[in-house]
């Protein structure tokens, strides 16, 4: 099952839990399940149903631009991290 890391700033919602494993095929499924497990999770990282533009999703160290529809593999590691601009 994919491992999802709970951002440190949202661990107040997860009761300190740092990561969870859950059955999911894409980011949307992850977000919705986490929102059930940790109510309020979705509102913290989404705007208008999409990942907040100030965040990006890292799946196995790849910064996906696909947001909620990005696919995850059975052994994927998923992080929600700040978006980066470059010079």
């Amino acid at each position: 099952m994919p491992t999802v890391f709970i951002p440190a700033q949202l661990r107040e919602l997860s009761g300190g839990t740092q990561s969870v494993e859950l059955e999911a095929k894409n980011v949307r499924e992850i977000v919705y399940q986490l929102d059930v497990m940790f109510p309020g999770f979705k509102d913290r990282i989404c705007i208008d149903g999409n990942i907040s533009p100030s965040l990006q999703v890292s799946i196995d160290s790849v910064m996906t631009s696909r947001g909620m529809i990005a696919k995850v593999q059975p052994h994927s590691e998923v992080h929600f991290i700040p978006a980066i601009g470059g010079g």
Partner: protein
């Protein structure tokens, strides 16, 4: 390590745009002249923070030669919409208000009105006749002051966002970030050695030699044409269309040759203004910033306050890290704090770390990216602490870095683990270098080293190649060429097709002709647009294979394409050119195309060695020798890779030693000129030796990693470490200018 032998890649052809650029023929934005073109001038705020009470343009309007005057009333209302600009996102209302102040001016240099006239002098004189009544407000330019509860508030509607959680009252802190990995508090308890310091860095500017410039022609049919100095024509098109609230498809952006950017020419400043002036005047309008405008109203990159702490075991293993970072955002949110947090410990495998970061609004121009934005500041802190703890533990500065360097599988504080990376290889190259193995031999001299990291991104790129009847190729791509990228992109296409670099005629297209391409930034162009060119070449080859099968009376599957681009099958072996000529004669006109969107960061690591001599009487630092080492994955055009390393390093040296925004008591900038901003001249730096490490990037067909940004990261830290080794004085504030270093040396002597 890549061992493949290439024909074109790794060679050093003369760049395609070279002759134009050494004869003065290359056309930059300010060189563009359209029939009937007017000159624009932007009137800017003399105050750091003020309410605009009224603007009276009547006298200016009556000036002969004036064709249009613009104020904030002419700008459409844009909602608080967040626009994704490919590389980062922006709130459009802030972007618009940064182009033309709305109710308040938030920094000296903030645009308040603009004039278009037959001549720039007339426009300027008319602009000076515009009467703006201000109510001057208290202002703030130091990051910690701006965070105070009773600080002058820049925006009434901004509250702190802590990953989606909003504070209940407004403040100058739009964003608070927090990261944790492991249990830092417990790890510090177990540490045998701990070092902690506070650091400050000054606001610095990208310092491109070409001031921002734009030409806009708003056509009667609603079509807007823009020629501009931008790092990204597509993002410029989007920003302009969104601010003006016009359809994207109505805007054509032609990127002219660009005189440097370094991250500072991504945000639009002048385009909407020029467009609206053109619309009002019914004629094309050109606006160019003055150098003072550039300093006061564009860029810069954040000044910062940082408190960083690291802990290690006696054997030198770094086990704990803690960082508290506050970065200037400037007048609007969206600073560089995210990457700052993610880079503070990015070179070291530290199991337990905690990082807090704050984006802080203050009365400076809105900060923008500058080469590895946010990373140089934190490297200045961490790389000094690493030296300090090594000294405490009796280790050598290189040894402790080798022991703790991140490698494949190391996890960053923000979570992701690294794929294969090259820091260890860079440190090894440093260790083997002639520089490292040559001792210093004079008084007041010192050597310092530092490592650096920047993510390097992929984003989206497109390329199309049209085959000419002689088998040469016109390559159309969309990446503004700031430093020879046309050639490094063309070389990758030449390599795959078995051609020479000179057989490719690369062109940077405008937004109507090139496929969508993100900015020239993020160290991505040679990597991603190069990949697009490679894929376009592959596309062409597949088409040619199919067509050749008809020609040669065999099945396409029977035809193979060699590494040298030779098509072989049915007893024939024909190179690209010959086959293309044959196909053209047979009536086939070929176009290859590709779009790519690689998503894996290219992870550029580097390490640098600095030798300095410090004048004990004046505190002036002379850089004696410098070596920059960088993992390029694979260097396509080594000369231009070296150029990136050397240029980034010298920018870092400037940041380290003399560059800074000075503020007067009224919080207006005191040194908005090249004379007083003090970027390095040729006389201030030595030759910059380079060592290119090539670890190969598995995500790119030729193994390319981005190299543009990382070289600016280590210099302040490497020089601070060198200064310490020369003087026993730890410099925790940038720049380490002579008055500051002299003062610090005096205090050091007094405390001994």
């Amino acid at each position: 390590m890549t061992t493949t032998q290439y024909r074109v890649i790794g060679s050093r052809p003369v760049r395609h745009d070279g002759a134009d650029k050494v004869t003065g023929k290359a056309i930059y934005t300010a060189d563009t002249k359209l029939p009937g073109m007017l000159a624009g001038f932007v009137l800017r705020s003399p105050h750091a923070h003020a309410k605009i009470i009224s603007i009276d343009t009547s006298e200016a309007e009556a000036t002969p030669g004036v064709h249009a005057i613009l104020t904030n009333a002419d700008f459409p209302n844009v909602e608080n919409k967040i626009a994704d600009l490919g590389e980062g996102s922006v709130n459009l209302s802030y972007l618009s208000a940064n182009c033309m102040a709305q109710q308040k001016v938030l920094y000296r240099g903030h645009a308040v009105a603009a004039v278009a006239a037959t001549d720039v002098h007339i426009a300027e004189e008319a602009a000076r006749k515009i009467k703006v009544e201000y109510e001057v407000l208290d202002s703030v330019t130091w990051v910690l002051d701006a965070m105070e509860e009773n600080a002058p508030l820049l925006h009434e509607d901004i509250v702190t966002d802590s990953m989606g959680e909003k504070a209940d009252k407004p403040s100058n802190i739009p964003v608070h970030l927090h990261f944790e990995k492991g249990d830092a508090a417990a790890a510090f308890e177990e540490a045998d050695g701990i070092v902690e310091r506070e650091f400050k860095t000054a606001t610095v500017h990208q310092g491109y030699i070409e001031p921002h410039a734009v030409v806009a022609d708003y056509n009667e049919d609603g079509r807007l044409r823009i020629w501009t100095a931008t790092q990204g024509s597509f993002t410029c098109r989007q920003q302009t269309a969104e601010i003006l609230q016009i359809p994207l498809g109505n805007v054509l952006v032609t990127p002219c040759e660009i005189g440097g950017g370094f991250g500072g020419k991504i945000t639009v400043y002048l385009e909407p203004t020029a467009a609206l002036l053109s619309k009002k005047a019914g004629r094309p309008v050109r606006i160019a910033m003055t150098r003072a405008d550039v300093f006061e109203a564009s860029g810069p990159t954040p000044g910062s306050f940082m408190r960083v702490k690291i802990g290690a075991k006696n054997d030198g293993t770094l086990i704990a890290g803690e960082a508290w970072l506050a970065y200037d955002a400037g007048a609007y949110p969206g600073g560089m704090i995210g990457p700052g947090c993610m880079c503070v410990f990015s070179c070291y495998d530290i199991d337990h770390a905690i990082v807090d970061g704050y984006d802080v609004l203050l009365n400076k121009p809105k900060t923008s990216a500058y080469r590895a934005p946010g990373a140089t500041q934190v490297a200045f802190a961490t790389e000094q602490l690493v030296d300090e703890i090594a000294e405490k533990l009796g280790m050598c500065a290189l040894e402790i870095r080798e022991k703790n360097a991140v490698k494949e599988g190391s996890r960053r504080v923000d979570g992701p683990v690294y794929p294969p990376i090259g820091l260890v290889e860079c440190l090894d190259a440093l260790k083997q270098s002639e520089h490292w193995n040559t001792p210093l031999d004079g008084p007041h001299q010192g050597r310092g080293i530092a490592a650096g990291f920047w993510f390097g991104c992929g984003l989206k790129s497109s390329a199309a190649c049209t085959v000419n009847s002689d088998g040469t190729i016109n390559l159309m791509e969309g990446s503004t060429d700031i430093g020879g990228s046309r050639t490094s992109i063309a070389m990758q296409l030449a390599e795959v097709l078995g051609l020479e670099a000179e057989d490719i005629n690369p062109q940077v297209g405008d937004t109507d002709t090139a496929g969508y391409t993100d900015v020239t930034g993020g160290s991505r162009v040679t990597f991603a647009t190069g990949m697009a060119a490679y894929e376009a070449g592959r596309d062409l080859q597949q088409q040619m294979r199919t067509l050749a099968a008809d020609l040669w009376d065999c099945s396409a599957d029977d035809i193979t394409i060699g590494e040298d681009g030779v098509f072989s099958g049915n007893g024939k072996a024909v190179g690209f050119k010959a086959l293309a000529v044959e196909l053209f004669a047979a009536g086939e006109h070929l176009v290859g195309r590709a779009t790519v969107a690689p998503e894996c960061p290219t992870n550029g690591f580097g390490a640098q060695i600095a030798d300095v001599e410090v004048d004990p009487e004046t505190g002036k630092v002379t850089v004696l020798r410098y070596t920059t080492i960088q993992d390029a994955g694979k260097a396509i055009h080594p000369s231009y890779v070296e150029g990136q390393l050397q240029g980034g390093t010298v920018q870092g040296i400037g940041w380290a030693l003399n560059e800074e925004y000075f503020y007067r008591d009224d919080n207006t900038m005191a040194n908005a000129s090249f004379l007083d901003y003090r970027m390095p001249t040729m006389l201030d730096v030595p030759m910059i030796d380079t060592i290119i490490v090539e670890t190969g990037n598995p995500e790119h067909p030729y193994g390319v990693r981005g190299v543009g940004e990382t070289p600016i990261v280590p210099p302040p830290a490497a020089l601070a470490n060198a200064i310490y080794n020369a003087t026993d004085t730890r410099m925790t504030e940038l720049p380490m200018s002579p008055p500051k270093l002299w003062k610090a040396m005096q205090s050091e002597q007094a405390s001994e």
